[in-house]
Amino acid sequence: MILQNLSIKRKLTLITMLTSSAALVLSALSFLIYDLVSFRHLLIQDLMTQAEIIGYNSAGAMEFKDVPAATATLSALTAKEDVVTAGLYGRDSKMFAHYSRNNNVIPSLLPAHSQDKGYRFEGGYLQVFHDVTLNGERLGTLFLQSDMRQWSVRAKRYAGILCIFVLISGLFAFLVSSRLQRLISRPILHLEDTMRMVSANRNYEIRATKSYGDEIGKLIDGFNTMLSEIQQRDTALRGANDELKSRTGELEKEILHRRQTQEELLKAKHVAEEASRAKSTFLANMSHELRTPLNAIIGYSEMLEEESRESGKSDSVHDLRKIQSAGKHLLSLINDVLDLSKIEAGKMGLHLENFDVAPLIDEMTTTLQPAAAKNGNTIRLHVANNLGAMHADITKVRQILFNLLSNACKFTDHGTISVDVDQSKFEGRDWILFRVSDTGIGITAKQKENLFLEFSQADASIARKYGGTGLGLAITYRFVQLMKGRISVESEPGKGATFTVHLPAQVVAETPESARSTTSSEVAPSSEESKTRKDTILVIDDDASVRDLMSRFLGKLGFHVVAAANGEEGVRLARQVRPMVITLDVVMPECDGWTVLKKLKSDSALAEIPVIMVTIVDNEAMGLDLGASNYLIKPVDRDRLAVLIEKHRAGRPATITGATAAPFISNPPQRRRESERRASGKVDHAKDLVSRR
């Protein structure tokens, strides 16, 4: 509908105009109709009165059949403009006389016969029939016909006036309504404008102005309230957004910071690991360097003791024993340091075997009897009957017991040392329990905190009074851990201490060695496929010029050279190519030569390949320790290198047969005996040494 889409302004104007015009037209029409009806009635009355008068006047003429007189009477109708025709009919209803406004009118217009009296409308004319009577006697009928001219003139005028009036009033209504509609339309349009502005500019600060207190005013109020609400939310949202942005910024900074910290930590970790490795290496080297002269000291003193005894000079025997004892003490300290460095370097493996617990305890108590006697202590044994065998590293179990017992002896004076050995079952496993209690000086709660830490003794005065390195318990603790056991201590200062060790009856080896063997067995099938290349040499060096020189030099000697620029690639190529010999640099980025060497030697498929270290680092002991066959220092003596490689070419297959022919395969117990002896040897010389904590 077109009307519906008109603007509210137009609509209002139109509604007002239509309403007022309709009301006006309706009222005017009703008035007009009423007027015209009553006017017609008036005309009828008038014409009937006229007929009565003329009838009365023409009665005489009718009586006497005087046509001219009757015609003359009728002519009086000339004064009446609207009477068109008139006629007189006799008793026989025949035309007696007639009148016509225009004389030439054909009398046929008149009805031929008189009709019943009264009025009727016929063909736009008003006709009146009237009886002409004289003294009550009917003489004939008078007929009058009017054309209602006055009425139609009046009707036409009225119509004209009505039209003009409607026009004028319409115009007036238009003027008035177009002014008055603003009362309603202006605030609505203003509201609409405001809305458009708000949505176009997204400016929620604009407000619509309220003009009146009507419903539109309330609408505007509501709109404004809504706007304020939106504005508030918008502000809050923007605030939240800003906050979010700043938080995101902070988070990004935080992340960056963390990443930096992480990198720093990683670097620090590398440095620490490097330092730790350096420490382990240092310790390994130091112990080697210390043992060599110690070897001489102990050996010569033993020799002299024998000689003195044989030649009867028994007075020097005692002093020579002291030298030996001190030397062996020093050796055990070195061994402890080495043990600890091995544990820290993750090189301490477990040599698991089955052994009976009870004989071990007997052996240990016997061994420590002299140490106990020294301070006047007695050792009491409580060993459960049904202990049976355990599967563990006997050397380490021995050392654990030795450390605990010798500590107990050392810190107890004229007291009792109890050794309880029993078995228990918890967490679904069998455990062997060792408990060593003494009645000595005990340990304070504070001392307990650092008890199992390396190089920490209860306090400095202890070290002065009792000696020791502070390694004994640290090693004990690590060994217990290594075998997945537990160690705990209870003590009351001045009354003694109780150390309790739980070891699994069946220790499961979970050492780096066993982990390694699984990895290497995974790798083995693929590497077994490729056969060792008899004449291939793998050169691992990060320096391109070295690789080039080596390639040329070895190439001249008739070898096929494969080169790797870094450690990872070197190990990969070694697996792939299975070279006859590997030459290896130490100082390389990321994965250094030591690491590469360890990787090569821990892979059963590669362990047999001889590795010649070619480096500027002067640390032959480290290289040989880790399994290198030879150690050359840069700049390389080419002839020496050639000789070494030649030797490996010649010796390699024989080495393999030599190894398989080695007696230990055919005679495995010998190997075990050796390990036992080694461990017991440690105990032997420990008899004399001053115990340590």
Binding site: H288, N295, E674
Partner: protein
């Protein structure tokens, strides 16, 4: 009188060990580096070799490998002596073909027992 070849680079240890072995009634010859050790083993054909591992020119593992790969010398028992007390050393000693192994400083009585054992095995 069984002949023992002592391959040891440290002069003091060499002197001390050889004297003590001699006192036990062995005839002792000694070498101060790996190459000399190898040569002497081949020329002198000792009854047993005490082999230090950290040796100049050629290390103990290599000398052992060479001797064990040589038909004429492979029967000679070799006891490796090492100052390295790493557990891998023991395994490597046997891998290289050593017949026994001991750590330095030498526990003389223990070493003597090992020597006796190997010589008895050899005789039988």
């Amino acid at each position: 009188m069984p002949k023992i070849l002592l391959v040891e680079d440290n002069e003091m240890n060499r002197d001390m060990l050889s004297r003590r072995l001699q006192r036990k009634g062995y005839s002792v010859i000694s070498a101060h580096d790996g190459e000399q050790g190898h040569l002497m083993a081949c020329s002198e054909m000792p009854d047993l070799i005490l082999m230090d591992i950290s040796l100049p020119l050629m290390n103990g593992w290599e000398v052992t490998r060479l001797l064990k790969s040589n038909e004429s010398t492979r029967h000679i028992p070799i006891i490796a002596l090492t100052a390295h007390a790493l557990s891998t050393d023991r395994d490597r000693a046997f891998e290289a073909g050593c017949d026994d192994y001991d750590t330095k400083p030498v526990e003389f009585a223990r070493l003597n027992e090992k020597i006796d054992n190997l010589l008895t095995v050899k005789k039988s």
